[in-house]
Symmetry: C2
Subunit: 343 residues, 2 copies
């Protein structure tokens, strides 16, 4: 038994979800998809989303929306899905052994945007909700991946996220921000995917440490720091996820407006295409949702619409010292205290 | 216990490797790298290989060679490596439990070529040799990934491979060809990676079925068909791998010569870039060597030099019926009996 589990003897009780929990969350996830798509179409001004509705043989379905060749968006995808089945996959059951032998329900919204201008960052958002027998939880987050970053933009982005967190729990930002740095990390490159944001998983209001030796290490490490049962009922968490989802346009669109008309040359474009390769590497090698989806008969086109429209790989590329490209590597692709950054 | 293992009670004995086995194989792997690089430089006529030698902290090293912006090669990488360490990774130990607690030695040559002209296929080759305590084995193969294929080229490629196999064992081609179709398969796309070639693993001259319930399913399925101990000593297998490696230029260069000057337009180039996405998906999601390398602190740039220099993804792309693009999907991305194909 590992030291971190040794002093935990009884599971915390979670609060019970309301009887209409699934409907309320899936309604919210659809509304979030609608609001994000409308906000992005207005901001883009040049293209609109195409929607594909799809059914899942084992139960459920979704609506995938893709925008292409817009004014600022080279490509963007916003997915809603609501699925159910007889059994969670082994990777999740390992984290939630209580769900063994029970059916499951999952709903969520996910988004990845690939802007054309290298001065506008790529951004990802995903919020999700699970129920399976006696257990339920919220998960998700948001993270920003700039190519030519501005510290003031990154600070503003993180400040918006922190304000959203602070409205719900004084410890959320200080827990979910480093969790994001840790999750969106490319071990084989020794780089963060970008400047981070928020990430959390298995949030049910209890201290996940009781999960014992099978617990997700990051969950144990960070959730451990949250006082259990303090403003952390189902309703509290749902309200928190609502606010997180709705903070996206506020956090991101000001950056788009400031940078979308910045002039760039082929050198900047080539660097953006090269850095997009890291997005592909992360999503195909590490991302839980992508790998799970591909291995379990998900709708491939919806899962892989997160991949960039055009990507480069270049053997042994290294940025020249004292260039903006080097600054990205040296400063922005390492975890930093962005809300207190001096700009 | 699964049915396929039920009638196997005693392990077959392997023949012993000669005392200078490691040196002989690694010398061959280096020579193979040299011969392939020389052959490709001569054929390309426009660019040469750059070499990077590298050391591995835990033991061993390699020499990576990359060619770029050539006449027919947009990018190509040919790697040699020779590494050793205290313990094989768990994924391999599961296949070879006898190696538990022993150090290991591995050497091999691997290659991926990305031609510029969409009428010239991408090709991959890898041959490798392992020793670990009481066990040793050869593995590897070669496979061809065309964008605009010609059945006569594919037939010629497979005929060359079959002739090479037939010189060593009458059953090799009929076992290693379908094994290749099965290994280079993208489940989430329901497509083969290309038109296949040869693939084998854990070849030590015995019937691998004795590996029991932990055995690699494909190994059990295909190697099972090989009579054990019949022309399958260490020397026999080494001679076979020698001939396989040396068959590459004979199998591939005639296709290059026939197709490298075929005229193409942007439509064909865009389709090639799109299909290259499948190569990325296979290598990052399924390929044993890539995933193992990334997760175990290999030299990232050498591992990922298999990725194409430029790639596209396009949401919900489907080829139009009765086009060459549709023919690729309908005929060439399914396992076929190429040596008996009517052209």
């Amino acid at each position: 038994m590992s030291p971190i589990t040794a002093d935990v003897t009884t599971p915390q009780q979670t609060s019970l979800p309301p009887t209409d929990a699934k409907t309320r969350v899936s309604d919210f996830m659809k509304t979030l998809q609608d609001e994000i798509c409308q906000g992005l179409e207005t901001a883009d001004g040049g293209s609109t989303f195409r929607q594909d509705s799809w059914d899942r043989e084992e139960g459920g379905g979704g609506r995938s929306r893709v925008i292409r060749d817009g004014n600022f968006l080279e490509q963007g995808g916003v997915n809603f899905s609501e699925v159910w089945g007889k059994q969670l996959p082994p990777s999740i059951l390992k984290q939630r052994p209580e769900a063994e032998g029970h059916g499951f329900y999952a709903t969520g919204t996910s988004m990845v945007l690939h802007p054309r201008n290298p001065y506008v960052p790529t951004v990802h958002l995903n919020y999700r909700y699970f129920e399976a027998g006696p257990v339920w939880w919220f998960g998700g987050g948001i993270d920003l991946t700039p190519y030519y970053p501005f510290a003031e933009d990154v600070k503003q982005f993180h400040q918006t996220l922190k304000e959203t967190c602070d409205k719900h729990h004084p410890e959320y930002y200080s827990v979910f921000k480093p969790w994001c740095d840790e999750y969106f990390y490319l071990k084989h490159r020794q780089e963060t995917r970008g400047v981070g944001g928020l990430f959390f998983d298995y949030q049910d209001g209890t201290d996940p440490l009781y999960r014992g030796p099978h617990a997700d290490k990051a969950a144990a490490k960070y959730s451990n720091q949250l006082p259990p049962q303090e403003n952390r009922t189902w309703e509290d968490l749902f309200a928190f996820v609502n606010d997180c989802g709705r903070a996206f346009l506020t956090a991101y669109l000001p950056i788009v407006e400031k940078r979308r008309n910045t002039e760039y040359e082929d050198k900047q474009r080539q660097f953006q295409l090269y850095r997009r390769g890291r997005y592909v590497e992360f999503n195909l090698v590490y991302d839980r949702g992508t790998i799970f989806g591909l291995q379990t008969n998900g709708r491939t086109e919806s899962i892989l619409m997160s991949l960039p429209p055009l990507v480069r790989w270049e053997y042994c590329y290294d940025p020249e010292p004292n260039t903006p490209e080097a600054e990205l590597y040296n400063t922005f692709l390492k975890p930093q205290d962005w809300v207190n950054w001096n700009v």
